[in-house]
Symmetry: C2
Subunit: 334 residues, 2 copies
DNA sequence: CGTTCAAATTACATCGTTGTAAAGCAGTTT
DNA sequence: AAACTGCTTTACAACGATGTAATTTGAACG
């Protein structure tokens, strides 16, 4: 059996509370006793029981990270950074998947309570404000990604501006028929909605007609399908602007499979700058932002929120920039 | 404050233990009392406190999933499937990252004890047998991926056979100078080691010389660098066989950046069949295995192990197959 | 109607940790 | 030497759920 404070106390000839004091370091302990206790701690390989600690003081040392689709590169990178930050700060991360389903975003809150989650970083897709408003008993929450509501702390990229910037960039590059992929008026996801707005704004200000391919799934395969279908029944546009790099990956595949060259025949741009972006085709032009900073801000914000639940909801906007790579850079013809 | 069994008991006019009996369903409760308690349960929105439950009966309802590099597509897909299976079975998943560092694989075990983890699915990279042998107090463990030891339950692909199959496949396709990427005699990772063996076996049986580019990091960027360096100082080989799809992605980028065409000038193969594989260039030829099955087997095995810690260590080998896509399929020259 | 027996329910203790409040113990001060 | 100070250490209870063992309830039977 594993050792408890009691065992350590007996061994060191002190009371359990003194052991606890040494372990936690909040209450001063005389050097002599401390040394004795520390020895006993080592000898017995004491590891505190976090269930007991959690029961006692209501904190579990666990935060939850909830993402819509864990299998995407984007999720993987976010998870990586969050886990790293959490690890450094001594927290563990419980991973949850919401799968774009509202039901599961709700389940989360139940689970959060059950597991005594100390905090939650949530990338919502369909979460309506209501779910959070019910939340007096909710754990501290930080929302990441685009969210159209101001009830909780948020970390986000300015999607409207970013999509506008990318669209303008493509227009400056001389493209006129620019087709967006993943947005559309009816887009259910907040991100799709916002990026669509930025795209349409930029097109409108240039007097160009918006052409939008809607696609709710936001997966490479789905994008390959819809872009392929588009290509089969429309003349080749000047550029495709996919609202995620994952979709750009699928689009690139559909485009080249039909014998078109990127960027010579059609340009392509993405959004997110996932690690793979620089290796896609001639390198994917995309909207980039610092995912490490993004995750770090979310984590820091959550820690602050856990310390003081009465803070006003805050919003951190992480900067973005256009990274031009091969898919929009027309090479000199040979 | 959230409701406890005590509150529910008071409301239903029964004792706390009866509430517990209703919640857990192990002890029979008369229909009448059950109904009353269930009503109270709903009215008070009771959610059991898992810290308390965990303290009492030593189970936390948490399993840990430890992967070397969370940001990779491979890890993301595994995490996705494991979380899905766990979710269905009512478990939560704590995510850990070992970052290829032995220290962190050890830390894991400490953390596992502290958090009362009920089980652990670990994808080791450098874990020597010793770390597990110390482990009488360790939680139930299932190792995934290639591991050269037989102390714990394992789920794996037969890497030696798979690499041999792929190498043979390339040879049958007419390739002679086949360069492997990611292996080598000195490879520290078990996977690299085993895949290297399969590759060399197949080359040897065909009487071909092995050419191996070593690369420990197993990341796209690193692969792009080493393959690029190779190309800059060697004649173009017939094919590259990268020991992960991620490295193949980097290799493809390095190859095309130098003006070579895949597959016309040089063929390319990977390993893992990540989701992105089919969208890479003309589609990446790779070693494929069912990651859902892989994760499912690991999870099932862990559940069995948690139920009975005295089982003999078992090994499940998940089948693999070569999936041919564009990177080895030479198109008809135009 | 009293007895017996099984089933349902209860009181109590316990898991390991830590906050509270009280006790212990030096070392000063008068 | 008594009283006081400030610091360290202790005893005890509590967090919430549940196994154990004892108790109560109700049905069945003579």
């Amino acid at each position: 059996m594993r050792a408890t404070v009691k065992d350590v106390a007996r061994r060191a000839g002190v009371s359990p509370k003194t052991v606890s004091n040494v372990v936690n370091g909040l209450v001063p302990v005389s050097p002599a006793t401390r040394k004795r206790v520390e020895l006993a701690l080592q000898e017995l390989e004491y590891v505190p029981n976090l269930s007991a600690r959690g029961l006692r003081n209501g904190r579990s040392g666990l935060i939850a990270l909830a993402l819509p689709k864990l299998e995407t590169a984007y999720s993987a990178e976010i998870a990586h950074h969050v886990v790293e930050f959490a690890h450094e700060a001594g927290w563990s991360v419980q991973l949850e998947e919401t799968g774009m389903e509202p039901v599961r975003e709700h389940e989360l809150f139940v689970k959060a309570r059950a597991h005594q989650i100390d905090g939650l970083i949530l990338n919502p897709v369909v979460l309506e404000a209501s779910a959070l408003e019910r939340g007096v008993t909710l754990p501290p929450v930080v929302l990441i990604g685009e969210v159209e509501q101001e009830i909780a702390d948020r970390v986000a990229v300015d999607s409207v501006a970013a999509a506008r910037d990318m669209t303008r960039f493509l227009i400056e590059r001389g493209h006129r028929q620019i087709v967006s992929v993943g947005g559309g008026e009816r887009s259910v996801s907040a991100a799709g909605h916002l990026r669509g707005i930025g795209y349409r704004e930029a097109m409108a200000e240039a007097g160009l007609p918006a052409r939008e391919i809607e696609e709710a799934d936001w997966a490479p395969a789905a994008a390959a399908r819809v872009v392929g279908a588009y290509l089969d029944s429309n003349p080749l546009p000047d550029a495709f602007f996919c609202f995620t790099d994952g979709m750009a990956m699928g689009a690139l595949s559909a485009i080249t499979a039909r014998g078109h060259r990127v960027p010579q025949d059609v340009a392509l741009a993405g959004f997110d700058d996932i690690d793979a972006a620089q290796f896609l085709g001639p390198g994917l032009t995309t909207v980039s932002f610092d995912k490490r900073e993004f995750a770090g801000r979310a984590f820091t914000m959550l820690v602050e929120r856990m310390q003081d639940r009465d803070l006003e909801p805050r919003l951190v906007v992480v900067g973005h920039r256009i990274v031009e790579r091969g898919t929009t850079r027309v090479a000199v013809r040979t």
